[in-house]
């Protein structure tokens, strides 16, 4: 067995040389003129691996900002009477200091923080940081492509994201504060500067930023789709693609179909704001005067928004599905259970994602009859989701599991996805949603199922593919501490919110003490806040680990440190632009040939030809 492992790299190189596909890469790209200097190599790089890292690090910076925001508003919710004037140097006029020197958070800024937290986490961290990172890194590597179909558009995709980030970041420093009408930005609140301070310049920048963000998503998405369809290496049929690629592929399609609708919603909103149109506005009396707008419908915006908004949650979670499937299979040393069922589930979820948007709008005044259809489609989504969960659990069954930070996070993901997914059955059923809509139950649900779970998928991916990104390992002990702290911490934060929600407490309340019904959870809210602060500390551990390991981590010595079967591990330890030095590998088999064999090995690389016996029992 030891011989096999030792000889494997040589054997693999031979296989690539003999069976691989010669695309005359060296003749065209000798010396790689595109990466000749520092700027083209590290900043305006067209190498998908560099762009992936750019997405990841930008996403991490945003995650820290968004996380810190949540701590500030958690302080307000957990300790509303506490003196927070020590935050004044950072937050300035948003801390109201009274005559006794007691500082409290301005409610206006509370709402700005909540809004920014949502926007940042949903779009910048879990869309750009997750899908952007791993689609970029893995699509070419796992398909055996030299790069994306259009490296230039790919580079532009990142830089539009960067531009969008700069604008959003700038809006945090406006004197009227950033946008504060909730990440969903429902008009008329978002349309009328009279309605809220944040709906002035803050909203304008918010909208502009997100339009650039959509450009970024579209440029990326069209590239991912094209690459998956056209640049698969020899032998890589669709049914041989790893589940990561399937997930990124469907994610890109969802993004391409839904994000433009968001832009159209924003465009009409901009018209209402700036040009005096009445798409969303009607019969409004505000600030002592009746506005001229008549005939518009605020509900129209909600339809357009959620036509993106719901697919968006699958845009966030599907890449995590893919990553977790891959990491679980590799570390359980078993094929992913029910590969085809997994693919069909992804496709089914992707399709149904477009038919459920109005389940966010059961209580928004749409005709109750319409809700019938959305309830049915929403609950149908539970079926493919359940199949995926059962398959992940079955993947562990009779495995030989290697516990490391990546696999721990993958297992944690499944636990979170179960917990958060099941509460979706309550909310998706409109009858129950009458009571639970816009309460903390919803906050608990979506944070667990698409916040924490997506983060777990992202962490699993970062720990697993860090060696491929930087040629070094992250410290795995620290990774495991990070996992256990986050696992316990995340449940401690979000589980109790179910109870608060079931007691009827609405979300987006800056204080609860005005209500007899809502003020009873002071101690529970304190507990949640403390848990959030500690859990955030564990994430910093990960950040430290990440940056430390980039320069000082243990070096990768084996091309395939996890003994994985997919193509990215056949590239050199530090692959250059173009990924493979000679031929690109040809694929001979599916991506999940794991399991102990007679010769003692427990996986077969995708580039190894099938034996005669295997050919007879085609997968």
């Amino acid at each position: 067995m030891a011989d096999i492992i030792a000889n494997r790299p040589l054997q693999e190189e031979k296989l690539i040389e003999e069976l691989g596909f010669d695309d005359h890469f060296h003749e065209h790209h000798h010396g790689d003129k595109y990466q000749s200097n520092f700027i083209t190599k590290y900043i305006f790089s067209q190498d998908h691996k560099v762009i992936a890292r750019q997405f990841l690090i930008t996403g991490m910076i945003w995650a820290i900002i968004g996380g810190l925001m949540s701590l500030v508003f958690r302080l307000q919710l957990g300790f509303p009477e506490e003196n927070i004037s020590w935050l004044k140097p950072f937050l300035g006029k948003w801390i109201n200091v009274n005559a006794d020197g007691i500082g409290t958070l301005d409610p206006q800024f509370y709402y700005a923080l909540v809004t920014m937290h949502g926007t940042i986490l949903v779009f910048f961290v879990l869309t750009a940081g997750l899908s952007g990172t791993f689609s970029n890194l893995l699509i070419p590597l796992q398909l055996g492509a030299r790069d994306m179909a259009s490296p230039l558009l790919n580079m532009l995709s990142y830089w539009f994201f960067f531009l969008s980030s700069v604008i959003m970041f700038y809006s945090l420093f406006l004197s009227t504060g950033p946008f504060s009408g909730g990440w969903v930005a429902y008009p008329p609140l978002s349309a009328l500067p009279e309605a809220s301070e944040g709906s002035g310049a803050g909203m304008t920048l918010w909208t502009v930023s997100l339009v650039f963000f959509v450009v970024s998503v579209l440029l990326g998405g069209i590239n991912y789709i094209t690459t998956v369809l056209n640049l698969r290496t020899k032998g890589m049929s669709m049914w041989r693609m790893p589940l990561t690629i399937w997930a990124f592929f469907v994610t890109a399609i969802l993004g391409l179909l839904s994000f433009p609708v968001l832009v159209s919603a924003f465009l009409l909103l901009m018209f209402d704001r700036g040009l005096g149109t009445s798409f969303y506005l009607s019969e409004i009396f505000i600030n002592g005067q009746a506005l001229e707008h008549v005939g518009g419908s605020p509900i129209l915006y909600q339809h357009l928004f959620w036509f993106l908004g719901h697919p968006e949650v699958y845009i966030i979670i599907l890449p995590a599905f893919g990553i977790v499937s891959e990491v679980l299979a590799v570390n359980a040393r078993k094929p992913i259970f029910g590969y085809k069922a997994m693919v069909y589930s992804i496709l089914a979820i992707g399709f149904l994602a477009f038919l459920v948007w109005a389940h966010h709008m059961f209580m928004s005044g749409v005709n109750p009859f319409i809700s019938n259809f959305f309830v049915i489609f929403t609950l149908i989504i539970a079926v493919p989701s359940a199949v995926k969960v059962f398959n992940w659990i079955s993947t562990l069954y009779r495995g030989n599991i290697r516990f490391n930070a990546a696999s721990l996070f993958a297992i944690g993901f499944v636990s979170m996805f179960i917990s958060g997914g099941l509460t979706g059955l309550f909310l998706g059923n409109s009858a129950i949603d009458i009571q639970l809509h816009d309460t903390y139950f919803v906050v608990a649900h979506f944070h667990i199922v698409m916040g924490v779970a997506a983060f777990f998928g992202m962490y699993a991916g970062v720990y697993h593919w860090f060696p491929k990104m930087y040629g070094r390992f992250m410290n795995d002990t620290l990774g495991k501490i990070h996992f256990w702290g986050t696992m316990i911490g995340a449940y401690a934060i979000f589980w109790p919110m179910h109870y608060i929600g079931l007691a009827g407490v609405p979300r987006r309340y800056a204080r609860f003490d005005g209500y007899e019904t809502f003020e009873m959870f002071a101690s529970l809210n304190q507990f949640i806040t403390v848990a959030a602060i500690i859990t955030f500390g564990f994430q910093l551990l990960m950040v430290i680990n990440f940056f430390y390991s980039i320069w000082y981590g243990k070096k990768v010595k084996d091309k395939n440190p996890w003994q994985a079967s997919t193509l990215e591990w056949t590239t050199p330890i530090n692959p250059g632009h173009g990924n493979w030095e000679g031929n690109i590998p040809a694929v001979q088999r599916w991506a999940y040939d794991y399991g102990t064999r007679d010769d003692g090995s427990d996986f077969v690389s995708q580039i190894e030809p099938m034996t005669e016996k295997e050919k007879e029992q085609v997968h």
Binding site: Y111, P188, S297, Y397, I401, I418, S419, T477, I488
Partner: protein, 511 residues
Amino acid sequence: MIGLIIVASIALIGIITVQIARLSEVAGRLRGEADMQFVTNKRNGTWMIGFMVIFLIACIGSALYYKNYMLGYGPHGAASAHGPVLDRIFNITLFFTGIVFVLTQIALFYFAYKYRGVKGGTSDHISHDNKLEVIWTLIPAVVMTFLVVGGLDAWNTVMADMSRDGVPALVPSAENEYLEIEATGYQFAWDIRYPGEDGLIGEKNFRLINTGTNPLGQDWKDEKNWDDFMASEIVLPVGTPIRVRITAKDVLHNFYLPHFRVKMDAIPGIPTYFVFTPEVTTEEYRERLKNTPEYNVPDDDDPSKMRWETFEYELACAELCGKGHYAMRKIVKVVDESEYREWLSNQQSYYVSQVRGTDADPNKGEVLGYEIEDRKADFNVAAESALNATVDSLRTVQLEYVTFETGSATLTDNSKYELENLVGFMKKYSDVSVELAGHTDNTGNADSNTALSQARAEAVYNYLSQNGVNGDRMRAIGYGSARPVDTNDTEEGRANNRRTEFTVLRTQGDV
């Protein structure tokens, strides 16, 4: 200082953690990475089981601990007729998801522990099992069908509007009657409007809104508005169907009554509704809480009272509407019918009490239907009592609403309503004779005052005789300023002195 110590200790903990992590990596290298992996597997596998046990116990334990706070459990059974239906669907869903939750979490963590990598361990090449996969596709599908059918059945019943034969009423008593009220959200409060005696809510138009004189933009030309009143609290009669018409003035709001399982967005330009029947009075709900230990502790805001004593149903906003979103509370009281009627008797029509006769009143100068009715009733009471009076001085009734053009004896148009009442009275009691008297104040020439008052009394006389009252039964006299009922030194007093009266002269009893 304390802050500094906290920051320093956190930094210290961080550094220690990082160092431990580095050391363990070094130790791992010394021990051999493969062997170290098995140690790690065992350790983390065991922790998986430990976590699972603690997690499941914590979930169930905490749920039981907080049970009495959660709506639908303990004392918090729904206070509306439709609420228990929704709570039951919640519990059915909880039953199925609870089973799935416990089983899948146990399977996940147990498999993780059981199949951890051990030295010489193997993994099986199991790629799929069609039969198994069909089974676990079908089971969720069947359960979902069950949940969908139950949920939609309830949804379509609860969200249905009032039936067509329903009749709105302020105090519903018949089977098909219901009370319709209107809730209007704005930054950052609710205005609650009751329909008044007619049971109907009047029309409104956002262009008519005036923060001072017409906060809802009610159209005062619409007579349904005249009796509508604004309430500082929502008071509802128990056991009566309530239809809430939900509107908004500026941005989106949401009409949310947690204890009644009521929730609906308020949208500017698009009125929405929610129909529900409150079944539990505020007092009865307090009684329920009284028997619950969690509510038998001193109240947070008023420690002299117990929590259950301070309980109120509350209206909250559940759609982000700006920086005061969290402060749109309104108290809801559910009371029995007699208490409701008593409360109603203290409410005043917004139009009558705030608008009628002011510059903001488009009906200024007109007599409105309800006023004609009221005056008729008042007149009849006064006339009957004059008729039955045994003392002469009580036989005189002032015709308060009979007025003349300034300085002339021409009756104003509005005088005819009161005169019609007098005609009716004369016709009803055909044996009654009256004296019609005109009075002026003391300003001006005494003779001309007397002449004017005489002419005015005759104008009334003429009106009556033209309307079928025999002239023999009446006499008209002008007293000028000779019989003042008030001082002539103030304008108010002088106004009281300028008046027209009638005095019952003879009834059958007299003859």
